[in-house]
Amino acid sequence: MRLLRPFVFFVIAALALVGAVHGARAATADTLGAEGARHLLTRTGFGATPSEIARYAPLTREDAVERILAATRTLPVLAPPAFATAGGPLPRPGPNASAEDRKTYVREQARDTLALRGWWIDEMLATPSPLTERMTLFWHNHFVSSQQKVRPARLMYAQNATFRRYAVGDFRALLHAAAKDPAMEVYLDTVQNRKGAPNENFAREVMELFTLGEGHYTEQDVKEAARAFTGWSIDRDTGAFVFRPRLHDDGSKTIFGQRGDFDGDAVLDLILARPDTARFVVQKLWLEFVSPQPDAQAVARIAGRFRASGYDIKVALRGLLLDPAFWAPADRGTLVKSPVELVVGTLHTLELAPPDGLPYALAAAGMGQNLFAPPNVKGWPGGDRWINATTLLARKQFLARLARAIPAPTAPMDAAPVASMTSMPATAAANDAVTTLQQRAARSVERALARIALDAGTWVAAQPGNDVPAKLAFAQNVLLPLAPVTGDVAEARAQRDPVLFVRAALLDPVYELK
């Protein structure tokens, strides 16, 4: 065996070379090839299956990007949970509700939000346009609201639907809609902002985090803008946006050096008129799709086109996806997968169709991304900050369990990492309920992972290629954006063992990247 191994490695290397030559033939100067297709699809979606990669490999960059942009949607393919689209008054405890009633209310809304999380994961897996869901998630993490403050799950769904409607549409319309979104109005205290009693929360964050960026406005601008947003409220009967003229301060304001009796919409238009807004949004999109180091010149160029188009998000995305930096070999595998991308992308790539998305939403929560509950108004910081000791081990635990690299536990898994799921109880008394909820969540993740059947042999056998080594070479490109760090992947390929191979690839540090 010891003598044989160098020989086996030689054969593998030779086959890899043949594969590379073959790939190079497929990837002519104008076409993506399997590697380019994998890169584009995983950067704009949730992983990529071998057949999707095969479909995109013969396309040019331009054709591939257009195909992805043309497939984007404004509506989900799956019906949301029934409560999400129910009309009528918002369920809410009255001013004289007992403590018990309030607790029940908080619990019911938390339960409905769990259903919403499961539905969104299902939608991410089912959609024919993963980019639509990636962008919906991007806006969720840009125009941040958290159910833990907002409470009614129905409002969180309505906000999610708004983000999807404009996901790859008109940023100007999106900004106006997000500002008037009832969940946002609750989250950033717009509903508390009245004439003579301004609350600056939304006025500050809309400039700092949603449009201009810190340093591109003054404290005076914040104070005056807060006055302009007074009177924006929510209709208690329908849960919809309503303008209350009596609460609106219609006096004169000075914002960005301009004087006028601006209202909220006028302030948003003043913000959109400033070049900082396009630059700020394009820079954030660059970090999401291209690399951790935005190229200031390219960002300025793409932002210019984005602004000139009247804020067509497709123009910004097209600019980013066709920028040479997006395709630069040095930028491959430089972005960390978000927990949702890791979980949904792994299921999608390995062609696993779980019966219920909820346990996977909870798994992502345990890795630090609890949908509908970002940690604060700045959202999940993302990038390298997805990875710390706790979250990296939660990611590895999930992947190891999925690949059956470790046996299922006899006792229920510890619930601690799901703590963020309900880390803001309404009252200290709610803590007991929270603990039970966390334990139930952790158990449901374990049960789901125990039930899901990953058949690595069948998955590898379905890859293109004439024999097992060729199939494994193709599969390595499907799973890993860079050469593996550990020797386990090469070892598994040498042994031609698909089960060991998938396991080694999923647990290699490079798998955390895209």
Binding site: D189, A197, E214, V336, A389, T390, L392, D414, A416, P417
Partner: protein, 395 residues
């Protein structure tokens, strides 16, 4: 080692210790020739972040100041509800359980802690606190990460520090520090078996992942959390954080610092109930921390400090809350703390044009106390300037 570095660490070694001790132990020439600071990292630092910006004026209440009551017709704590600890200031009623600690001189109150030209953004302001920068300077690394880069922790340590209750590394952020985010020590040790130590190479994201993985392996090798604690920890989120902190503190392969986080202090509306609940959770957690550290014999070599991105505006808003403010009151506690009141209550009758107070104690003076007085590390190189330490540690 370049000359500048040599001089800095050499000076550090001398400045950090009483001269007689240095000369007595090594001789002055030896100390100069061997630029080897021996920081007192057996002394533990625990930072407690009151995330969101706790309202300092309703935490440490200036209950004799008419301006306070004028600014807060609804939110002010009535004088007869205040836990009066001096003839000028008192605690929020939810902090009642901390009074005995103050009376015994093991709890210090730091008033008016802030910095010049304050920034009112949560994110920028916590970055200023975490990197110990001026408000017009941007620094990449946290102040504790810079500390450990200047003076390394012993190799037997499991890590430089751990953060518990947050995914943000805060003052430990930076390429250099060996820092871990921990949720639950038992689970950490169990899952750590999945980590492998590989040399850190490749692009920055990959290098980061490999470093975290190596830190996990190292920490798992050195952490021993088999000790059972008799202390009763509250069942709150912060109580769980404190429990984990005590288990780490009890481990022989220790850490030099921990950062614990309690969330939810951004009280723009309906502040009274929320802040009371959070302060009670804080006080109960701190008492449990004292009990846990006492049980494992580390209370006397632990310094606990609270901090936050900012305090809140003295004038209540009409939502029953308070908007982003500037300077705030903080606590220092521990078996070696010199109790009492430090700094001065900001003048509530002279607010700035934005309605906020001017700080009376620079937060970097508090950090200087940690570096100079607690660990014996020269603070100026870390803090980028000389800040007068607060005399809050018993010698």
């Amino acid at each position: 080692m370049n000359r500048r570095r040599f001089l800095r660490s050499g000076l550090g070694a001398i400045a950090a210790r009483p001269a007689s001790l240095v000369i007595g132990a090594l001789g002055a020439d030896m100390a100069w020739a061997t630029p080897r600071a021996q920081p007192a990292y057996q002394r533990l630092l625990i930072l407690v972040e009151l995330k969101g910006g706790n309202d300092g004026f309703n935490t440490v209440v200036p209950y004799t100041d008419p301006a306070y009551y004028a600014l807060r017709p609804k939110l002010a704590i009535p004088r007869d509800h205040v836990v009066q600890v001096t003839d000028r200031v008192g605690f929020h009623p939810a902090l009642q359980s901390l009074q005995p600690l103050f009376d015994r001189g093991r709890l210090a109150v730091l008033l008016g802690v802030g910095y010049p030209a304050p920034n009112l953004s949560h994110f920028r302001s916590i970055e200023i606190w975490d990197t110990a920068s001026s408000s017009d300077r941007y620094l990449a690394d946290g102040w504790l990460a810079r500390t450990f880069a200047q003076a390394a922790t012993p190799s037997r340590f499991a890590a430089d520090g751990v953060v518990i209750g947050s995914n943000d590394m805060g003052p430990l952020a930076g390429s250099g520090a060996r820092a871990l985010a921990l949720a639950n020590t038992d689970q950490f040790l169990q899952r750590a078996k999945l980590a492998r130590s590989e040399p850190s190479t490749g692009n920055p994201a990959l290098a980061h992942i490999l470093k975290v993985e190596s830190d996990v392996v190292r920490a798992a090798t050195h952490l021993d959390t088999s000790r059972t604690l008799a202390t009763d920890f509250p069942g709150t989120p912060f109580g769980n954080v404190v429990r984990t902190a005590c288990h780490v503190a009890a481990s022989p392969g220790g850490v030099a610092c921990m950062r614990l986080t309690l969330n939810g202090f951004d009280t723009h509306g309906a502040q009274a109930g929320t802040q009371a609940r959070l302060l009670r959770e804080l006080a109960e957690g701190l008492i449990a921390l004292q009990n846990g550290l006492t049980e494992i014999g580390r209370w006397d070599d632990t310094l606990v400090l609270t901090y936050a991105e900012f305090g809140r505006r003295p004038h209540e808003n009409l939502s029953g809350g308070t908007d982003h403010g500037t300077a705030s009151a903080h606590f220092a506690l521990g078996g070696s703390v010199r109790g009492g009141v430090y700094g001065a209550m900001p003048d509530l009758s002279r607010l700035g044009s934005d309605g906020n107070v001017t700080h009376t104690l620079d937060f970097r003076s508090v950090y200087a106390s940690v570096l100079d007085r607690w660990w014996g590390i020269e603070s100026a190189p870390v803090l980028g300037g000389r800040y007068e330490p607060v005399d809050l540690v018993r010698s």
